[in-house]
Structure formats: structure tokens, C-alpha cells
Amino acid sequence: MKFLWFHLMPYPDLPDDFKETHPSVWVDIDPHLFDPARGHAVYHEYMDELEFAANAGFDAICVNEHHSNAYGLMPSPNLIASTLARNTTDTALCVMGNSLALYNPPTRVAEEMAMIDCISGGRMIAGFPLGTPMDTCYAYGQNPALLRARYMEAVDLVTRAWEEEEPFAFNGRFNQQRYVNVWPRPVQKPRPPVWVPGSGSVETWQMCAERNFLYAYLSYFGWQASAGVMKGFWNHMKEAGKEPNPFNAGFLQFVGVAENRKEAEKLYAGPADYFYNRCLHLGPMYANPPGYTSEASLRAKLGSQVTAAANQGAGSGISGPARDFSNTKFFDEGHVIIGSPDEVADKLREVAIELNVGNVLLLLHFGNMSRELTNYNTQLFAEKVMPQVRDLFEDEWENPWWPQPMPQSQRVDRSKTTAQMVAAQ
């Protein structure tokens, strides 16, 4: 089992009456709510927390991309990942990821990710999300009806740019380049592992099966919301003749660990409330631009009353419309798994087996959680939970979706170079 420590980087000072006084946390979020001095502090705090998690022994630290969004302060996850590449040594860096259709040309992403792969010595995971409607269609003005076609073409272009041994010309529907020639080249051969965060679209499953990409379902509504989608994914993989290798899939889970459940409720109710009732206050007008959902997926959704009801009830992944969250509903319904280390470990093992998923992307920081509580949660999870679940799937399955870094002996040891610099002075 792989444990990835994931930071969304929410802005922590949204006002108490945010939900009542503002239309949406995303797209038209009020610029006056952002205090740059506070931004200075929280960026450092959040990067410290990611580095703390790396030191605590998590398999990977994870960043992602959002635009015009008060719960995700990383329009460019690559900027954050590059500093993490300098300040960490062995942890994988999961950039989850870059919405390829937003970049013109998309080879910009191939270049930046190759830089991160070089700086980190081959520790990078390349995440390629289609991107939410809010990020892509509204904040970045992409045509929803053409977004997926652009994305698919960009995935081809970027992976080819890494894999081809010689410069080549690319004559696509949306991109024409006479000279595709990515410098620097990525450390990992033939390319870094590609992970695709999805929201249950048939086309994304198909692409992952055909191209051997990892599929991750990132729902803020916990393992229960993920179960139906993962079942659909595994059915699709079976039909495509693929093995049910749990390392081919990932899911997102909020977790709060404490001495016991009661203590956990006390510690994590505030941050969870901040996340679900402020950060997830999404304007429903931005959730469903026409053409964003493919006709095949639309038919699948409309055709299944069960799925339709589930989508309404649980929200369809990240882009789901806002819902009402009463006090501790997020605990009772498993959106956030809380409890003692043993309780959390048991639950995670049970859920990972049920979903058949070998990668869990953990939100151990959420909402406006303080640095102290975040580090406490991180430390306790690393020391008391991780060891209990780590063995899961490891002996039974190969894991070709994990980064293959340069040998340790060939990598730059920054503790030495820093010491030399000090000595020279």
C-alpha cells in the first residue's frame, strides 16, 4: 500500500458568514478576501507541512492545480513541486497534476515536468487531469465541448515528447509544432509514470486501460462515494482484459487521527466544518458547462437511476455541486475517517480491500487546520497507522506506476553541498 500526503492549500481565513455572503469559493471568488501577507505566511506553512510529511516517511507528497479557487492556492503546482524537489530526498513527488488542455503549447508541461524530474533525480509522478469545469471552462475560458479532445491530443503530444528519441513534427487537430524537442529530458525512462485523476467518465477509464495509466478517483466525499466509481473502473478494466492490480488505482481520503474517536471528533470537527461548509461552497452555475460531459458519459449517467441518485446525493467527485453539511455528518458518512490509530488503520485496510485500490491520497490537512494539528495528525498517522497497513498488496502485485529514481549514490546530497558552502565561507 502506498501513502501519499496531499495538500490542497486552502486559504484559511474565509469569513464565518462566507456561505451566506458570497456566491462561490471558485471562479468569481472575491479578490478582496485574499491578503498577500497572509499568503506569504501560509505558502511557507504549507510547504513546511509537505516537507514534514516527507520526513515522517510518507511514500509521496502530492500537489495539484486549481484556478481562481480559495481552497486551492496552487495555480501552478509545478512551482511548489520544484521547491519540494530541492528540499526532500527520497519521497516521490506526485504532481496531480497539470490540466494539459490549458497550456499552449502543451509541451510547456513536458518541459516543466522534465525539469522537476531532473531536479528530483527521477522522483516525479506526472498527473494529467482533464481539469474541473470551474478551472478549465470558466476560469481559463476553454470551450467545454472541445476540452476533452484537446486534452486527449495533449496527452499524446506530451508523452510522445518524453518518449521519442529524436525531435519530431506534431500535426494535431489543435496543436501544430514543426520542432518538438523537450530539453531537459526526464530522468525516468521511457517517461515518468502517468496518473489520471478522473470523475467517473467512461473515456478516461478507456484511456487508462489502453495506455497503462494509473486511475485515481478523487472525491471529497470519502470512500463511500468512491466505491461505485471504482467498481465501474474495475469492470471496465476486466472487459479490457487487464489484471485487477490494486496499484493501478488510487483514491482520496480525509483522515483525522487522535488518541481516540472522541478526541478526534473534538480536534477535527472545526477544520472539517471549514472545508465542507466554506471551501466547498461552490456556485452551482459553474458545475455543468454544456459539452463538458461527453454524450456517452451523459447517457450512462442519465440511464442509470441509481448512479443519478448517487451523483445527486454524494456529489460527482470534485466538481459536484454544493451540499448542506450538518455538524458531524462528514464523520458519520465517512467523508472524513477519524478515530484512534487502530480504528483508522482497520478502516483504511477494509476500504482499500473493498475498493481494490493500492494508493491512498491522504488529506491529513484540511480546511483551516493549524500547523500544530496538521503535524500531529501526520506524525501519528506515519508512526501508528501506516505500519499497520503498509504490507497490503505489496507481496502479491508488481507496481509499475511508481517512480524509478536514479540510484541514491548518484543523486546530489544537498546536506553535503550545504556543509561545503558553509566551510568555504
Binding site: 467545454p144 465541448a145 454544456p290
Partner: protein
């Protein structure tokens, strides 16, 4: 509705549904937002005087598959092909909303296709001092009241007809909105401003005074830029879907402009 006939036009993208009614000289109609899921009262009224011919554009109900249309040139070629295929070359042409943006463009770049032009609250321009609203970012379920001053009647018009499949009806509706998005995303600006001066056909511009999508002030922007003789008619109490909100007034204005 009386004497509504359906046939098929062959276009470069495949078959397109053509609805027509009435007799006499053909009068083309390119529908607005949502296309023509059903026949409209305004078209019945027009069909009392003229042979009304309403071909479906790609992606709209009855239209060909728009998947191969990448850019605005592709859309203009497809629109021209559809008008040709429906036997509307050289006919008078009405375009509403989304269809109005394309009708204006066709009159500019294929003047042989359009004798006289009627534009009903056309998209195609965007002035940041008086911006077009985001028709694609409305709260779920509120579109009827945004588009029309008769939202209940509009809801009834958009409702599932008896005996039709709920799923197909919904898919058709989403596909029509996606087609509009393909043409207009994100601002509704098709850069038509660069081509309006090429329009030499006599033109009638109709606008609803209660249009919540495109400000009625845009009527004058169109009128000022078009080279041919232009008449502007604004209609009190009508929203963006003017032809739906005020079918009799619109039909009278069109017939008055074109002559019987």
C-alpha cells in the same frame, strides 16, 4: 400547427432535418438557443404569408453531428451548406440568437445566399462596457426566466412531449446547449464585428427590451456597422427569446419588412 412538413437536407456533415410550412417564396429560419425541439407559434404565423423553411444546424435538434467542427470557419461552411441543402440559396433569412450570429456572418461572407436579412437578438458581438451575460453559467433550472419573459410558457415549450423518451429528450437538450457553446464560448463574441460591414442586404434587427442576455443597446451596434439599409425594431415586454415571447409582433414586423 397546420401543414408542417419534415424532410432531409444533405450537407457536408451528413443529414439535417428541415421543417417547413406554408406556401410561396421561401423564408429561411435559423433557430436560437436550444434550436427547434418543437415547432414555434411565430413560424405558424409567418407561414400564413410565406413558405417557412427551418433547417437544423449541426448539434441542434435534428442537426448533423458537429464533432468535426473545430473553428468558426468550419461553422460558417456548415451553415452555408445547410442553407444550400435546404434550398434556401438566395432566399430571405431570419436568424435568432445563436442562429442570428451565424445568419449575419453568412450574409457577410456568402452574400449570394441571403436576399434580405432579419436578425433577432443575435449573438456575435461583445462590448466590455456593456457586456453580454454568461448564458452558460446560470443557476440550474433558471434558464427559462433568463431567456423569456414568459418562463412558465417557455418551460411548457421545453417539456418532454408525450410518447418521447425522457433520456433522448434530455440528451438532445444538452447537445443543443453544447452546440451553442461550441460556437459562442466563452463570451459570445465570434469576431463578427470584423465582417458586419460586408453585409449589404437590407436588414431588420429585432430586439426584446427585456433581454437579460444581450443588452438591447447591441441593436444599434449592429445597425451602425452593417452597410446595407437597416431597420431596428425593439419590442416591449419581450426577453432574449423575442420570437417566443412576442410571436405576433415579431411576425408582423417581419412580414411588414419583407412584404407579403
Amino acid at each position: 400547427m397546420s401543414g408542417l412538413q419534415e424532410h432531409t437536407a444533405i450537407t457536408s456533415l451528413g443529414q439535417a432535418r428541415v421543417w417547413e410550412a406554408g406556401e410561396g417564396e421561401p423564408l429561411g429560419f435559423l433557430a436560437g438557443f436550444g434550436g427547434l425541439p418543437k415547432w414555434l407559434p411565430v413560424l405558424d404565423k409567418l407561414a400564413e404569408q410565406r413558405r417557412v423553411v427551418a433547417p437544423s444546424l449541426p448539434g441542434f435538434p435534428g442537426g448533423a453531428d458537429p464533432d468535426l467542427l473545430d473553428d468558426h470557419l468550419d461553422w460558417l461552411l456548415a451553415t452555408g451548406d445547410t442553407l444550400d441543402g435546404a434550398g434556401l440559396a438566395g432566399a430571405d433569412l431570419i436568424g435568432a440568437s445563436v442562429g442570428g450570429a451565424l445568419a449575419a456572418d453568412i450574409a457577410a461572407v456568402r452574400p449570394d445566399l441571403v436576399k434580405r436579412l432579419v436578425l433577432i437578438a443575435p449573438f456575435g458581438l461583445y462590448d466590455e462596457r456593456d457586456p453580454v451575460a454568461d448564458v452558460f453559467a446560470q443557476k440550474p433550472g433558471t434558464l427559462p426566466e433568463v431567456l423569456s419573459t414568459r418562463p412558465d410558457a417557455y418551460k411548457e415549450y421545453s417539456a418532454l412531449p408525450e410518447g418521447e423518451s425522457e433520456l433522448e429528450w434530455q440528451v438532445t437538450g444538452v447537445r443543443a446547449n453544447a452546440a451553442a457553446a461550441r460556437i459562442l464560448w466563452p463570451l459570445g463574441d465570434t469576431r463578427l464585428v470584423k465582417r458586419l460591414a460586408r453585409i449589404t442586404a437590407p436588414t431588420l434587427i429585432i430586439w426584446g427590451e427585456e433581454d437579460k442576455i444581450i443588452p438591447p443597446s447591441y441593436a444599434q451596434r449592429f445597425a451602425d456597422a452593417i452597410s446595407g439599409p437597416v431597420t431596428v425594431k425593439t419590442i416591449a415586454g419581450a426577453g432574449h427569446a423575442v420570437e417566443f415571447d412576442a410571436p405576433d409582433v415579431v411576425a408582423d414586423a417581419v412580414i411588414g419588412f419583407l412584404g407579403n
